[in-house]
Symmetry: C2
Subunit: 159 residues, 2 copies
């Protein structure tokens, strides 16, 4: 008994377990950001996307990058802007477009948290060796390819 399991069911079980793991880890990181830095995951995520991008980012590219709706990006950027950590800048060539970037204060704030965040993540995944990370990368890649989830922001070609 127990050897009898369809591949389909195994995949379902794996997904449920993965989902639960990721939620648990997200909860840990949410708690960490709240307690130690009085901020939230969405704000951190938006700041991270802005920090890592070279130059200001279009609202639409931001929401694509984070895989959230445009309305969501709007509301989180609103809050970061109120906190003085991000600012919107218009694009002269196309008045529909709104660009966002971190302010100097926002960059300093983020880079401070990011150091601590990396340590936290490193602790969470301290059980994974280089070889484990290779395996994980390969597994993720397989699923990404099956579902056409790409890493980069600029992929207009995908139509």
């Amino acid at each position: 008994m127990m050897g009898e399991m369809t591949l389909s069911l195994r995949r379902l079980r794996a997904w449920l377990r993965l989902l639960r793991l990721v939620r648990g880890l997200e909860n840990q990181l949410r708690e960490f950001l709240r307690v130690d830095y009085n901020t939230t995951l969405p704000r951190f995520d938006v700041a991270a996307a802005l920090y890592r991008h070279d130059g200001p980012l279009k609202m639409s590219d931001l929401s694509k990058q984070l895989l959230v709706s445009n309305g969501n990006a709007t509301s989180v950027v609103d809050r970061l802007e109120k906190e003085g950590k991000a600012k919107r800048v218009p694009l002269k060539e196309d008045k529909r477009v709104v660009l966002v970037e971190l302010t100097t204060e926002g960059r300093e704030w983020f880079s401070e948290i990011a150091k601590s965040h990396e340590k936290q993540v490193n602790k969470i995944f301290s059980g994974l060796t280089d070889q484990d990370l290779d395996q994980l990368r390969d597994l993720i890649r397989i699923v990404e390819i099956t579902n056409r989830i790409t890493e980069s922001v600029n992929d207009e070609k995908n139509a």
Copy 2:
């Protein structure tokens, strides 16, 4: 170049990539539930927990199982109850406790969706073989152990 990367940074990158993958897949499943069954992920998740549990489930065990707050469980159960898919039942021995279970309608509704949901998940992970799933299970287990995330609901011993 590019060979130079600390283990800590590799772990961070892996986490960000995993998080993005899981979000993308959740978005797919959310869309599927919305379009094909006019329901939502949280309702499906609660129903799944109730369906899989043998007998009615305490509100607090439900939220522990799903790794969400008690208030969250309350609101989602409220909606399922309004839809006639779940119902609350009091526990005579302890009047503080509220148990929840699926109604007959709720069970039929869920089992219908669940079949289709499993097919959807199977498609999403169609690139993963049995061996891949073994690997994934091992990797998940390592991180679970590091972070003391257990699978079962009944673990009062964890104190």
